[in-house]
């Protein structure tokens, strides 16, 4: 187990390294921060000075090594726009994002799991078919389309809810709904197939034959087993809590991490973008690691690692 964790941890570090390197190279090969941050018609000497000041004129490999050297010392760089430490900027935005992402996550779980379980227990009835169609609609529709439609209907059309900004808690309603529906749809579909698979197993019949009431069979015997594969999907959702908000925050002008990412990339505000990516990648990798550990906790077969003995060949 220890060995397993250590290996996973090292793999996680490798992933981070690859993500950062990739981003670094792409960002520095396209666009010119000097021109984007200072206006395009600034005098060439000013642009040159800017570039020199930020070390952008050095060869790529030198910049690359320099970046990682700084990283190792805890220096995440500075924003080229307002000269403040990049990571501080990023961290300051996290509460805003979480105030959308966390409620959305809870909603995803509630809606997704209950819809999935219900559909599985009422397989092939009209309600099952209806839920499946809804979930297909839910995960095929891009979130910005959904967001914009909701804005059109509820903000512009009906005027019930505000369309942008984060002034009051009512401002959070539409973005949270938008953020949660796609994930709920995926989770519903997944939970449904996991449940169907489990309900067809022999031990469910044993539980019924024992005399347990149906409710107990479902809640106590079926669901814990269906949770096992569903956990991967949920883990992935946790990992993308921060990254997933990008589109929604842009649609609703919500001042969170996602919006910061969009603006920083547009401006090639390199250190900020990289700090953001580091944050997102770390969240993803940790979430995956958590899922792996949880798997071992929930599924005793994984824990022991060996299949049952004594069955006939």
């Amino acid at each position: 187990m220890m060995r397993f964790l250590v290996i996973r941890f090292l793999r996680g570090l490798l992933t981070l390294f690859l993500v950062l390197s990739f981003a670094f190279l792409i960002l520095r090969s396209t666009g010119d921060p000097a021109m984007l941050i200072m206006s395009a018609d600034a005098p060439p000497e000013a642009l040159e000075a800017f570039r020199k000041g930020w070390g952008l004129d050095a060869p790529l490999w030198q910049q690359y090594l320099g970046y990682f050297k700084n990283l190792a010392q805890g220096n995440f760089g500075y924003s080229m726009r307002d000269k403040s430490p990049a990571m501080d900027l990023v961290l300051a935005r996290i509460p805003a994002t979480l105030s959308l992402a966390l409620p959305a996550f809870v909603l995803k779980l509630l809606i997704g799991i209950s819809a999935g379980v219900y559909a599985a227990l009422h397989r092939n009835t009209w309600i099952d078919r209806f839920l499946i169609s809804l979930s297909i609609a839910g995960y095929t529709m891009p979130s910005f389309v959904l967001g914009l439609v909701l804005v059109l209907v509820f903000a512009v059309g009906l005027g019930w809810l505000p369309s942008g900004g984060d002034a009051t808690w009512q401002h959070a309603i539409l973005p949270v709904i938008t953020l949660s529906l796609g994930g709920a749809a995926v989770l519903a579909r997944f939970t449904r197939s996991a449940m169907l698979e489990v309900m067809g197993q022999s031990y469910i019949r044993t539980a019924s034959a024992k005399g347990l009431v149906w409710r107990r069979v479902v809640l106590h015997h079926a669901m814990p087993n269906a949770a096992i594969p569903t956990l991967t999907v949920i883990g992935f959702m946790v990992g993308s809590l921060i990254a997933g908000a990008v589109v929604v925050e842009s649609v609703f002008s919500w001042p969170g991490v996602g919006r910061l990412l969009v603006t920083s990339v547009a401006n090639r505000d390199l250190a900020v973008v990289q700090s953001l990516l580091l944050l997102v990648a770390t969240t993803m990798v940790s979430a995956n690691l958590m899922v792996d550990i949880l798997y071992g906790w929930i599924d005793p077969r994984v824990r022991s690692g060996q299949a049952a003995q004594g069955k006939k060949a």
């Binding site: 022999s202 019949r205 044993t206 539980a207 019924s208 024992k210 814990p224 060996q306 004594g310």
Partner: protein, 333 residues
């Protein structure tokens, strides 16, 4: 000298524990509906061991799954079922759950997959004990350990916290039996309990079932495709073919004087360790599919002794001797 199996049934008028009358089971609906059981009648007497034998598609397992309401929404079940005189067909699932485990218990074929993989075996046992005996906490746990001892699981106390995949197939089947005993049922249905197990383990489990049955005074229905297992364990046997009963008799009579051509065919096509080696007399053809039974007797196409009327009418079960019924025009003209 070969000795015939002689297990005596009750000679005093047998007390009927469970009776199933006109059991009919179909799956699916509309155009794709398939009937798998065609009006089966059977009785289980208190304390006896009844064997149900037949090949795939004969309906031997479906019979009891249907009676206990374990078939699911896709199945249509009809018939009159009685337990100690009281009807239990058509009951709600909740009402049936009071019978399951408590009056009639059932164990299944592959013990490794029949136990919940994420619960410890002790936990699963305690669940049964609490449900049927109302015990909680320490008392429930103690009773569960006692049950594990009863089924001869060594180191019961330590094994209590094991998961099913940590135990062998034989051990898992013992746990299943212990769970079935938790409610002290009047009838235990054992559906192919040893088919997935090795030969030496099979012998252990069958011995255990006999022992348990005697100790509890329980009736048992043993379902198997293996005639020799049935011959050893059961006092009465029912042979099934394509969803109907072909022959029912006291074990001794069935094997010594089988009247139904199918039974006769089965007896001569199975190699037996106590008989001299000789060429097997195979039954030609194969079992018909449930939805495509021949008109008349289902066995007629494969029967070497079929007569004109066999392809027109379905023979009904009738007595040919004391405690011996056959569904065949040849046997009962």
């Amino acid at each position: 000298m070969t000795e015939l199996v002689t297990q005596q049934p009750h000679h005093s008028a047998p007390q009927v524990l469970v009776s199933l009358r006109g059991l009919t089971v179909s799956f699916g609906s509309g155009a794709s509906q398939v009937q798998v059981l065609h009006g089966l009648d059977l009785e289980v007497h208190a304390g006896e061991s009844l064997g149900m034998v037949g090949e795939s598609g004969c309906g031997k397992s479906v019979t009891w799954l249907a009676a206990l309401g374990l078939l699911g929404a896709n199945a249509q079940v009809q018939g009159e079922f009685r337990l100690a005189g009281e009807r239990f067909d058509g009951l709600s699932d909740k009402a049936l759950s009071l019978i399951r485990g408590r009056r009639i218990a059932m164990i299944f074929q592959d013990p490794a997959s029949a136990l919940n993989p994420v619960h410890r075996i002790g936990q699963q046992l305690v669940e049964a004990v609490s449900l049927h005996k109302g015990l909680q906490g320490e008392a429930a746990r103690a009773q569960a350990v006692r049950l594990l001892d009863q089924v001869h699981i060594p180191n019961a106390r330590q094994r209590f916290d094991a998961y099913p995949h940590e135990l062998s197939g034989g051990m898992n089947q013992r746990v299943m039996i212990a769970m079935a005993l938790a409610g002290e049922p009047d009838l235990l249905i054992a559906d192919e309990p040893t088919t997935a197990l090795d030969a030496t383990i099979q012998a252990q489990i069958l011995d255990l079932l006999s022992e348990v049955r005697r100790d509890q005074g329980m009736a048992m229905v043993l379902i198997s495709h293996d005639l020799s297992v049935i011959a050893q364990e059961c006092s009465r046997v029912m042979v099934m073919y394509a969803g109907r009963a072909a022959e029912i008799a006291v074990t001794d009579n069935l094997f010594r004087t089988a009247k139904h051509p199918y039974t006769q065919g089965l007896l001569s096509c199975v190699p037996d360790v106590a008989s001299p080696q000789k060429r097997l007399t195979a039954i030609p053809g194969q079992v018909p599919e449930a939805g495509r039974l021949p008109k008349g007797c289902s066995f007629e196409p494969r029967c070497a002794q079929s007569m004109a009327q066999c392809s027109g009418l379905v023979p009904m079960l009738s007595s040919v001797a004391l405690d011996h019924q056959v569904a065949c025009f040849l046997a009962t003209p």
